[in-house]
């Protein structure tokens, strides 16, 4: 009595989610590379690539709705399907953050560069690592790896606050650079949000695997 049809549908859903994860990782990585190299052309690529991420998000939503309606899944199947739906929404927002960053790069690449900020680079590498790990934890059903991602979020928050303070101080001294510094503050904020969305995905992965809701907001 194996439910081969459902297995196939779940397999397809998993593939779509992994494809979306991979495209989102690529978008974030390209956006950050374009920022580091002040490459407006590469930033444009990120903007173009977002269409495919959005299309996959819609396709996943459609599959989720269809499987729920036709198969009435329960237990780990139900958790998986709901989890993938949530994960797709978070990946789509990460894609949007990559676009936000790329848009700033397009503006900033036409203006003189501000001094290199190692904190910004650290934050970029940190959230990229978070994204890689949360998608990896989904791929390998690894709840421990997902939990590590949740623990990484506070570092992203700290780095974002440090960057904010750095550029506020910088703007006091360099009033001509205010606009560029504001864009950099927004970029850091985008990265911090990516960290939050990776945490959401990791929490979802734990829910899919263990059926436990570890979100702080859901605790009494």
């Amino acid at each position: 009595m194996e439910r081969l049809h459902l297995e196939k549908e779940l397999g397809n859903l998993r593939l779509k989610a992994l494809e979306m994860g991979s495209l989102t990782e690529k978008a974030l990585s390209q956006a950050l590379k374009s920022a580091l190299e002040r490459d407006g052309g590469l930033a444009e690529t990120v903007l173009d690539g977002d269409t495919e991420i959005n299309r996959l998000h819609c396709a996943i939503d459609e599959s989720v709705l269809s499987i729920l309606a036709r198969e009435q899944p329960v237990a780990r199947d139900l958790r998986f399907i709901l989890g993938v739906g949530q994960m797709a929404a978070n990946l789509e927002r990460i894609g949007d953050q990559a676009v936000n960053i790329a848009e700033r790069v397009i503006l900033l690449s036409q203006r003189p560069a501000l001094p290199h900020n190692p904190l910004m680079e650290e934050l970029a590498l940190h959230v990229q690592d978070m994204l890689r790990r949360c998608v990896g934890s989904f791929n390998s059903d690894d709840a421990d790896m997902a939990l590590q991602v949740c623990d990484m979020d506070s570092r992203a928050d700290t780095l974002n606050m440090k960057i904010l303070k750095h550029y506020v101080d910088f703007m006091i001294q360099e009033s001509r650079a205010v606009e560029r510094a504001v864009h950099l503050i927004i970029m850091a904020r985008c990265l911090e949000r990516v960290g939050d969305q990776c945490t959401n995905i990791a929490e979802n992965v734990i829910f899919m695997i263990k059926g436990v809701d570890i979100r702080q907001t859901c605790r009494p």
Binding site: M1, E2, R3, L6, V74, A75, D77, R79, G211
Partner: protein
């Protein structure tokens, strides 16, 4: 929600001759709750439900071991009045089985068997029971016509009314919708929601969706054993046992 234990099985074993159909089943039923028993064919769920009002006594060569209590009293006590037990623990079967009598007489039957002769009281109980079974509006103008002329869904609700006429405390339902179409099934399920305010309901079902929809608690049986029991919501979202998970997700064997 009341937390009073209405009925409880402790290490219940049941034998058909030398075949052990139930192995050490311990399960309790709380008052005012609906409990579903699920599991593949031959898992013992129907045997178990039939132990609860001693329907299995009618099968020769069977034997029960272990404890079964109703309000703390031993159901298998030799001195227990089995007719009274079955009045308190009513049953509705898989296939609607109205008697070849009028609608009215079907519902009145249990009252008459229990020695009640007051015509006004009987008429009142018949009407109340038919209303409780959500059938009154459909049959009030044909009370004295044969029950066999009713549709399958109506016949099943008549059987529920018949069971309720004698004011039981527990209602056992053995796959009550398996012979019914989706609309008749929906009516029975709605009825279960209504009835749980008054009765403790135990339902055997092959439909996992039905168990998920109607019951507060679900118990999963496999090969004569109780594998897992939990709140329905928990059992269908995060079962603890792998066999339960494999069964409810359709990955069995």
């Amino acid at each position: 929600m009341s937390q009073t234990v209405k009925m409880e099985a402790r290490n219940l074993n049941f034998y058909y001759g030398s075949f052990r159909a139930l192995e050490d089943v311990s399960l309790l039923f709380l008052e005012g709750q609906v409990t579903s028993l699920i599991g593949p064919s031959g898992c013992g769920k129907s045997t178990f439900i039939r132990c609860l009002n001693r329907m299995n006594d009618l099968i020769p060569g069977t034997r029960v071991e272990g404890a079964l209590t109703l309000d703390g009293e031993n159901v298998y006590d030799a001195k227990l009045d089995v007719v009274e037990l079955r009045r308190r623990v009513g049953m509705v079967f898989q296939k609607p089985n109205p008697f070849p009598k009028s609608v009215f007489e079907n519902v009145a039957y249990g009252l008459r068997v229990n020695g009640i002769k007051d015509k006004n009281y009987i008429a009142e109980r018949v009407e109340t029971s038919l209303k409780s079974a959500a059938l009154w509006e459909e049959v009030k103008d044909r009370l004295h016509q044969s029950a066999l002329g009713l549709s399958g869904g109506q016949q099943q609700r008549l059987c529920i009314a018949r069971a309720m006429a004698v004011e039981p405390e527990i209602l056992l339902m053995d796959e009550p919708c398996s012979a019914l179409d989706p609309i008749a099934t929906q009516k029975i399920e709605e009825l279960i929601f209504e009835l749980k305010a008054t009765y403790t309901i135990i339902i055997v079902t092959h439909s996992m969706q039905q168990a998920a929809r109607v019951s507060d608690m679900t118990a999963f049986f496999y090969m004569g054993r109780l594998i897992e029991t939990d709140k329905t919501e928990t059992l269908f979202t995060r079962p603890r046992n792998k066999q339960t998970e494999d069964y409810i997700t359709g990955r069995f064997g």
